[in-house]
């Protein structure tokens, strides 16, 4: 069943209160009323802490928190104790990369197309002399050098860190192949799915990755909440990360008995409202259907590509094949700086775009926009007529060049 974007827009209060064409969903998505209500309900009706006190509000919080974890686990087809709440994808990636055991294998394999949130912790491990870093080669159009995958991942590889979908071109990495090569070599795989989980059906069990990281706010959920999903046996191998209240079974001054995952990684009072909101976001997306969302985005993405392509002097980064990307396009207009394009689109037609290097400078270098580009990224609430306005606005701006 095709998605009715016009009807869906009624669920998003911001779209009712602001005359905005929101094309910046890769940065953060808008939030539906269901999510806002879930968060507000926690603060207005419950507002306790989970797993500590025994009073009714604490019990209710525990119940909401636990069921949210279950709802999220169901959304990505994982077990609930495989879902660890984090602040965001960045924290989830840091957790794995910094807590992984590199004593027998030192190499972390990644790609130049990764977000800084994945690249920087790896570079830090390298700087500290804890691990080595190796890169799978990619081409200027954002595709992978397939030969380089099997060449780079070897028996010395401890961990492979790769994106599901890039935030620079919206292209999907060949993760199935990477996972297979990595597992054949005995390496674990961490998938940065910040741009994957919100836009397509991601089945953790079927995918076979060892770890998967994503953020709530990029999938209609609240900010300040994210998840690391990990296979139980892999989670148990990780060292501790942030420790504190609720991460332990017993503490003596000379020894500690840690809890099992996910509690071992959730130190201190958690973002209950965020977790409950993310649970509501998963339910919301599931109700609409990830297949429907993916189809809608494919259709919108193609129209978006065509619109930008039709502008004289436009350059699109990454593959020109709309079928190989999500509804995210990074581009530049000849003679008009990227920040100016974004600022003017906002001034002229209230179009929200992102401009810059999108927290992925090595990726920008690799794709040919070191100085920056403009990014338009859509979601389930975007409509064709918005793309038409976007095209008309771009035409006007392009004439400045």
């Amino acid at each position: 069943m095709a998605l009715d974007a016009e009807k869906i827009r009624n669920d998003f209060p911001v779209l009712q209160s602001q005359p905005v064409i929101y094309f910046d969903s890769a940065c953060t998505t808008l939030k539906p009323r269901a999510v806002i209500d879930a968060e507000r309900n926690y603060y207005e009706e419950v507002s306790g802490c989970a797993g500590r006190s025994a009073h009714r509000l604490a019990k209710k919080t525990d119940e909401l928190f636990t069921t949210s974890r279950e709802r999220i686990a169901k959304f990505i087809n994982a077990k609930s104790d495989e879902v660890i709440f984090t602040k965001n994808t960045t924290e989830a990636l840091n957790l794995v990369i910094r807590s992984f055991n590199y004593s027998s294998r030192r190499k972390i394999v990644t790609t130049p197309l990764e977000h800084h949130s994945a690249l920087l912790p790896i570079m830090e491990q390298k700087r500290r002399g804890i691990a080595d870093m190796a890169l799978i080669k990619t081409n200027e159009d954002g595709t992978f050098d397939e030969f380089s995958i099997s060449q780079t991942i070897d028996r010395n590889t401890a961990l492979v860190v790769v994106h599901h979908t890039t935030n620079t071109t919206g292209m999907r990495a060949p993760i199935e192949k990477i996972i297979k090569v990595a597992h054949d070599a005995g390496a674990a795989v961490l998938i940065d799915a910040a741009q994957g989980v919100p836009h397509s059906k991601v089945d953790f069990r079927k995918l076979g990755a060892d770890f998967l990281a994503f953020s709530g706010h990029k999938m209609c959920g609240p900010t300040g909440i994210g998840c690391l999903v990990g296979k139980s046996e892999q989670l148990e191998k990780l060292d501790t990360f942030i420790v504190g209240g609720e991460t332990i079974e017993t503490v003596k001054l000379t020894w500690v008995k840690w809890k099992k995952a996910p509690k071992r990684f959730e130190g201190g009072i958690q973002n209950y409202a965020g977790a409950i909101g993310l649970g509501a976001a998963c339910d919301y997306l599931a109700k609409i259907g990830m297949q429907n969302i993916e189809e809608h985005e494919k259709k919108m993405g193609k129209k978006l590509m065509d619109a930008i392509n039709s502008i004289p002097g436009s350059t699109i980064y990454g593959t020109r094949d709309a079928g190989k990307r999500s509804s995210l396009v990074s581009f530049n207009l000849k003679g008009v700086p990227h920040h100016q394009v974004a600022l003017m689109a906002d001034s002229l037609s209230a179009i929200a775009l992102r401009s810059g290097t999108f927290c992925a400078q090595p990726a920008a270098d690799s794709l040919g926009f070191s100085q920056g580009a403009v990014r338009a990224s859509l979601y389930l609430y975007n409509m064709e007529k918005e793309i038409e306005t976007f095209e008309e606005t771009l035409e006007k701006i392009a004439k400045l060049g």
Binding site: V336, H339, Q340, M344, S347, K396, K399, L400
Partner: protein, 310 residues
């Protein structure tokens, strides 16, 4: 290479200019609203970075450019395209205007502080005069000065004036008319207030007092106003020649050479400053102030009113 250096230099300048223009505007607005303070900080950061030859990182220059081009585009797209293409030239133009207006403003303030008028010794319309206000003028406490009319009259008109000031000269016709009409019913006191902005104004004031001593004040006063430019240019020579042309006795020369009335004039000057005099002529009619030649008619109307009501 030279071309590249020029381009980088120009880009640098444009960035600085936009921030430099924005800085005083946002600083001013931030006095009234906190929301402008981050913008002022960004502008300041940008200016500091540019002055120290580092890249402006705040992006404020880009935002300002985009906002201005977008605003123009809504009005007239071809003009927006033209301005966008020649933005560097427009920026440079506005920079020069900005620098020029800054210098002119600074000069005006300097003149205002030194001469009491932003145009300097020449005088003329000065916007800063708005800073001064008749409401702050205080009537003088004494009737010391060069006097005329009825000393026991109920209506007293005091004038602070400068013989070298074109505005005092401009008001003179009205003053003389008043003196002629109300010589029996008004007591008129002239307090010399020579403005340092006019060359030889002090000399002219001393000379007039010396002429007063010789009983030739009003003739000499009229001659001084008539030869205002000549006195300004030739000073002592012109002052003495005027006395000779009026057949004032040689006692005048001695009085003038000894600067006999210098301390008297300094006293009236000090009195004027205490009263808050900010321009000549300034009149007080029974304590009520009137400033400038344009208000001479009002002075007369006030006199009439007071005489009529008494």
């Amino acid at each position: 290479m030279k071309g590249l250096r020029f381009l980088i230099g120009t880009a640098h300048l444009i960035c600085m200019v936009l921030c430099l223009l924005a800085l005083p505007v946002f600083l001013f607005l931030s006095i009234f609203s906190a929301k402008y303070r981050p913008l002022a900080r960004r502008a300041l950061n940008c200016v500091v970075k540019k002055v120290t030859l580092r890249p402006c990182e705040t992006g404020l220059n880009e935002e300002l450019k985009a906002a201005s081009i977008a605003g123009l585009m809504k009005l007239h797209a071809p003009t927006a395209a033209f301005v966008n293409r020649h933005f560097e030239a427009f920026s440079l133009f506005f920079t020069l205007i900005f620098i020029a207006s800054f210098l002119i403003t600074a000069q005006g303030l300097y003149n205002f502080v030194l001469y009491g008028n932003c145009n300097g010794p020449e005088g003329g319309f000065c916007i800063y005069n708005g800073l001064q206000n008749k409401a702050f003028l205080k009537a003088p406490g004494s009737l010391d000065g060069i006097t005329a009319g009825n000393a026991s009259a109920k209506v007293v008109v005091i004038e602070f004036g400068c013989y070298s000031c074109p505005y005092t000269k401009q008001a003179e016709e009205g003053v003389q008319r008043m003196l002629a009409r109300y010589k029996d019913s008004v007591y008129f006191v002239f307090k010399p207030f020579p403005l340092p902005s006019h060359p030889y104004s002090m000399e002219a004031a001393i000379a007039a007092s010396c002429a007063n001593e010789q009983g030739k004040y009003w003739e000499y006063r009229a001659a001084l106003f008539a030869a205002q430019k000549d006195v300004e240019e030739r000073g002592d020579v012109a002052v003495l020649e005027l006395a000779r042309s009026l057949n004032i006795s040689s006692q005048f020369d001695l009085c003038y050479a000894q600067k006999k009335f210098a301390s008297f004039i300094q006293q009236t000057q000090k009195e004027g400053q205490e009263c808050g005099i900010y321009g000549t002529p300034t009149f007080f009619v029974n304590g009520k102030p009137f400033v400038g030649p344009a208000e001479v008619d009002e002075v007369e109307a006030e006199v009439q009113k007071l005489l009529g009501s008494s």
